[in-house]
Assembly symmetry: C2
Homo-oligomer: 769 residues x 2
């Protein structure tokens, strides 16, 4: 854990400059708007340790796979969201002195991420060895309103000298990925041009052939005189720039404003890119910096209105949850069903920016509750659009008849991962994708989704499960052999309880959905069975047979479900017995030792009890929680939140809070010493879940909304909003009461604890706890 | 299967030149002498497809590991025996015409590997486009007597022209490996020099720092005149040569003789290499070509005397077994305990030339029976010398107190493999190393080996097993979790029967050996327990407890041992039911499908029944054979032989013969289309085993030698020699009788079938069958 940031309700603040922290801050202070984003790199030259990172959603490169021993069925490439051309560049030089904080004495350094407004600001004073000192104040944002626009205001003030300033504001296409398997370059220049005061750089990704066009414009004002200065504009292969040379006077502030438009061939045909960039620049410049800034503040205010969580009495927790919500909202905005949520968002390259089951298991509920339902719906449609490729993927593994296996890691629907025990065997991901459909519909009430998209996906996933079950003669039951469950510290096990459960549930749910569509939408039913060649008799009958005869390993003696067959053959020791010096295990133990041990990376049986809470009694949940949590080392960022929610449910409130803390400030406090590589975006959704579903006790059962709150000791109050079936409910929980208001002024019945309450138009209710 | 070679009892013959077959022939016609070897590359330039390969035993390079997803405990490098400087080179040019068979019309091409004499010969006539035709006859060998010597005789006859011949005989240090993970060069030049008519090239391997010195000398004789011509000698970085320029006359034969000495820093200090090479050259040249050739023939005659197998009535089988024996004897000669047997020997680069458990399980019995006992002993001492590193290796995986895990793949004792399911989990290899000690002692009667080397290894391996067993509470027995058995089509399984059995056997055998040494060699016992800190009370007691409570999975219903727990949960189908188009499975099925299936790559339970045959009744062997062989796809070259032996034992003679054939001509007939990469050297030992232990029915039980022969239908007779406890027994099996003679004229009791016979001095016996 490394704390160097100040606590504040709305701001992330770094005071004083330490090169050691810079890469960390670059991750934490990242900006994004769903379309593009970037790490908090300095605009000016910086010769110290840095990871330059500028990302454009959905622009990927199929990097040649690196693998030790090839296995049949491995993918040929790993799709990576790329470090894209750098548009923030400023080269600043006063006479012979280049502005580079790594070579200067820096004072009064302050970097602030204003989460409320979606703006990154920085100010500092820095001196060269000759004693000359300059003051710099910068502000930048990527517009939430104009997704293709980035704006920088850069203010320079020579504090104790006058001299010739040479400033070059540039876009640089000559960028590399730190994460490249064979040190290849991924971009090639296409063209550069100058047009009516704008300069343009067009680059193309190799192999995948995406084109991006960067249009740039800038202006400089001498603040004291109001004089506007125009640059010399130049363009060259991979580099376009605006150059200013002028006499700078002591104490006179020079303010640069740089506008950059980024258009891509994902949105327009190649020959339209420049034209579209011009449009963005013209509209933005005519609007003016101040107005663009105001727009940004407004847009973020709207976003916060829906998704903010307020915690009174715990500023650290307050900052933590807002930090998480802020990053989630700037990573994915739901405007484009071709996009999804990479584990690092726009904050780093690791994991390639691809989609994992994190989306369905962790992120969908966040967006369901905090944004228009179209946002979560687009995450579902993303998978629907990949159904064809998921069927091809399953065919590669020998499955037939329209069975689908969605990839473990993907950008465009094709599998990118290449460890057989994950790629081929961590198949529970298919279940999470089915569960997300169920979750979306129960939360929004949008039944039509099933007929339109959902049922086709459910049928294809169910076909996969039906083929993946094997009938065991000795057991006279259906088994699933050779899987990796959510707990990736077990590989190639037989009858992982969670996988068997979600597979069996998927079959049952699909059968239920088929029955529903058959009676409610007979035309859709005919269309879907025609399209999928689904045979409602033989296929459905086989699924029923399976559902009724699935083997679930359990220990009657201990009263727990068994993570997998044979789990109790392991030596049973507790995580608390481990030598702290050997933790995290994955950095100290060889893989076979981890596999042989009883230690659990993240919720596995408990993930199932979380998803299907209503199928189990509190007593069963408690017994399994006691047994498994004590064996869990939480070496996945996705682990503590699920445990925190269950702990809150069974009123292990202190445990719930302890686990919550591990999640919420994971990045801000850099628990795992890896923030320099980027933030854990998808696990941030887990923090939100831990608060709303855990401490808020929110759940939906049989179309009804339940709340069952419990506050951590230190919190005075907890307030959040949720969306549920068209309602937007503002909820405030205090130690002894809960207040609920439907901000849209409609009527709804809500269960609080064990009682039902009716919320009427314009009448918030308050219930004692 | 691709047959293009002629059948002959002693020769491998290729007639006619087809560039398609050249890489295959380069593998098959390889030469070696234990110290060095090389593929059957052409001496002269060849611009067609070729894999140039010159190898020096024990000279390796630690190539940087290639791995997809790093796991804690993986090795940093993969040691590879390298393609070494090329010493056979001849550049031949008549005026402007360069000799390059790829660009000429070739007639009368004949390549012959004379296995009886250990010599590779080639002759052909080849014409340039201008009609000039030259005849070439070459002979080369690497001396079995002078291990650092290679000799080439190269005879040129212009058939229809006269002209200027330029010939350059060279050693070239600028070589690459086809199998390099990152396309690095592995050698760097050290020096080149000329000294008293010899030229020298010294090269060093990067990282590992081995130095090799090549000394070269040559002469040329005009046959018709007897005129000797001396070359111009030159040396340059990475290239030394002898150059001849002369007028060649039509029909006049020019005979070059090239002598090359190869000395290495494995045998001498760096500054002695040239001196030693001079010594080799001087001695050899003064001996003269004819005499060196005669030496070679004699040495191979000696080798054949001990190891030859004669089969009457099946020339194809005869050629096959001699081919296998020849390669085994040229790959490993047992003169150096630092060396071992790479899967490709000196015939290719694949698998890096490293040591696998193949050595103990397959090769040791071959050398035990066909060579002085020191040969097999050195293979055992090789592992003894690596004991320290095996202990370190186990420590990396969390084992303590002197437990050893020998590497899966190694050259110098360090692990080179990096697939967790193999590296960390295919631990049965440890058992094979213990078994080889037992096998060596029962075969040779060399009890002293135990005190000198064996017991320390056994204790360390037993410590590993004792720690690797886990006590299962539900089973109230000891289990071994998370292993890969010999059948690598199962990974990370629990309670692999074979592994549990050999582990338990190792513990029991070690206890027995400890008891034996304790009483027979008390001083050694004190020394060994002191050195290993072995506690004969507590440690031995724990081992006994384990041995008495090991869990062995079995099916009482089917009367078979279970390959692993849960094997019967799989869908039970037979290999004969497989679609032939989907075979081999490893080229058609994804890995998870292979793992989930019941199909078996190579003997697993049956490997145990082979090793421990005497522990089980024929009926049990038959039941397990019936069950498992029908599920076995034999996709390892090590599979058919073990099955062939067991089939012969239970008198499935046709099946035994069918499986034998798959092994014996695997390379000659290129069953798997991979001979261009090199030959399957270690599986060649399996062919020998299939004949001697299978059809010969040879086994050793309780210090007694048993023979129980059965001949395949087509064979008239089978003759072979075996060594057993100082005896050298010549055995001839005919359809109705067996004849045995102790060629050393001593007395021994032998069991044939169910009866015991006494073999007296000078009196061969004949027993009807």
């Amino acid at each position: 854990m490394r704390k160097y940031l100040l606590e504040d309700e709305w701001l992330i603040i770094e005071e004083g400059f330490d090169t050691e922290n810079h890469r960390r801050s670059e991750s934490l202070f990242s900006l994004g708007n769903g379309h593009m984003g970037l790490r908090a790199n300095f605009e000016e030259d910086y010769s110290g340790p840095t990871l330059r990172g500028t990302y454009i959603a959905g622009i990927y490169y199929p990097d040649k796979t690196k693998v030790g021993w090839w296995k049949n069925g491995y993918p040929e490439y790993f799709a990576k969201v790329l470090n894209a051309p750098n548009w923030i560049g400023f080269k600043i030089r006063f006479d012979q002195n280049v502005l580079d904080l790594n070579k200067m004495t820096v004072t009064r350094f302050r970097r602030v991420l204003n989460m409320k407004e979606g703006v990154l600001a920085r100010e500092f004073e820095a001196s060269w060895p000759d004693g000359r000192t300059v003051k710099v104040e910068t502000v930048r944002f990527v517009s939430l309103v104009r997704r293709e626009l980035g704006v920088i205001q850069y203010r320079l003030t020579p504090l104790n000298f006058s001299g010739t300033l040479q400033a070059e504001l540039y876009v640089d296409g000559d960028v590399i990925n730190e994460d490249a398997n064979y040190d290849e370059k991924f971009w090639e220049p296409v063209e550069h041009s100058i047009h009516e005061g704008y300069c343009f750089l067009k680059s193309r990704t190799k192999k995948s052939g995406f084109e991006v066009c960067y249009g740039m414009s800038s202006e400089l004002i001498r603040i004291q005189t109001g004089e506007k200065i125009f640059p010399e504009i130049a363009s060259a292969t991979d580099y376009v720039n605006n150059r200013y040379v002028l006499e700078a006077k002591q104490d006179e502030s020079l303010v640069f404003t740089k506008f950059v438009a980024v258009t891509t061939s994902r949105d327009y045909s190649d020959n339209q890119l420049r034209k579209q960039a011009i449009k963005v620049l013209e509209n933005s410049i005519s609007q003016g910096y101040a107005s663009l800034y105001a727009e940004q503040v407004d847009a973020w205010a709207q976003s916060w209105k829906l998704s903010d969580i307020r915690i009174e009495g715990d500023i650290s927790a307050q900052q933590g949850i807002r930090f998480n919500i802020f990053h989630l909202n700037q990573t994915y905005t739901g405007h484009d069903p071709r996009l999804n949520i990479g584990p690092k968002g726009f904050t780093g390259e690791k994991y390639g920016g691809s989609t994992y089951w994190d989306t369905e298991a962790y992120c969908v509920p966040f967006y369901l509750n905090t944004a228009d339902r179209r946002v979560a719906r687009n995450l579902l449609v993303y998978r629907y659009n990949h159904l064809g490729k998921a069927i091809e993927n399953a065919e590669k593994l020998g499955f037939r008849n329209g069975a689908a296996l969605f990839p473990m890691v993907t950008i465009n629907g094709e599998e990118c991962h290449n460890e057989w025990e994950i790629t081929f065997e961590e198949i529970h991901r298919n279940g999470a994708i089915a569960y997300a459909i169920y979750n979306y519909i129960r939360h929004t009430g949008d039944d039509m989704y099933l007929a339109e998209y959902g049922l086709e996906v459910l049928i294809a996933i169910s076909r996969f499960w039906a083929q993946r079950f094997t009938y065991s003669d000795p057991k006279q039951q259906f088994v699933i052999l050779g899987v990796t469950g959510p707990n990736e510290y077990e590989n190639n096990v037989n009858n992982n309880w969670y996988t068997n459960y979600i597979a069996s549930w998927t079959l049952a749910y699909t059968l239920e959905c088929i029955g529903q569509i058959r009676s409610s939408n007979p035309d859709d039913f005919t269309r879907i069975t025609g399209k999928t060649h689904f045979d409602p008799d033989t296929e459905a009958r086989r699924w029923e047979t399976i559902v009724n005869h699935v083997y679930f390993p359990e220990s009657k003696e201990l009263g727990v479900f068994l993570q997998q067959e044979g789990y109790l053959d392991k030596e049973q020791i507790l995580a608390s017995d481990l030598n702290p010096e050997e933790r995290p295990l994955n950095q100290h133990w060889s893989w076979d030792r981890i596999l042989r041990s009883c230690f659990i990376k993240q919720a596995d049986v408990l993930q199932g009890l979380y998803f299907f809470e209503d199928h189990f009694s509190k007593e069963i949940i408690r017994r399994n929680f006691d047994f498994y949590e004590s064996r869990t080392v939480h070496e996945s960022s996705l682990s503590p939140c699920i445990h925190s929610i269950l702990a809150a449910r069974i009123r292990y409130t202190d445990k719930a809070y302890e686990l919550y803390l591990r999640n919420s400030r994971l990045d801000l406090d850099d628990y795992n010493h890896e923030v320099h590589e980027g933030c854990h975006i998808t696990s941030m959704a887990g923090t939100w879940l831990a608060i709303v579903e855990g401490f808020g006790g929110m759940k939906v059962t049989n179309d009804r909304l339940f709340l069952d709150p419990v506050l951590p000791r230190t919190w005075k109050s907890l307030s959040f909003s949720i969306r549920f079936r068209g309602h937007v409910l503002a909820i405030r929980i205090e130690r002894n009461k809960i207040r609920i208001e439907d901000t849209e002024n409609r009527q709804i019945n809500i269960h609080i604890g064990k009682k039902q309450y009716s919320l009427k138009k314009g009448q918030p209710i308050e219930v004692p706890l």
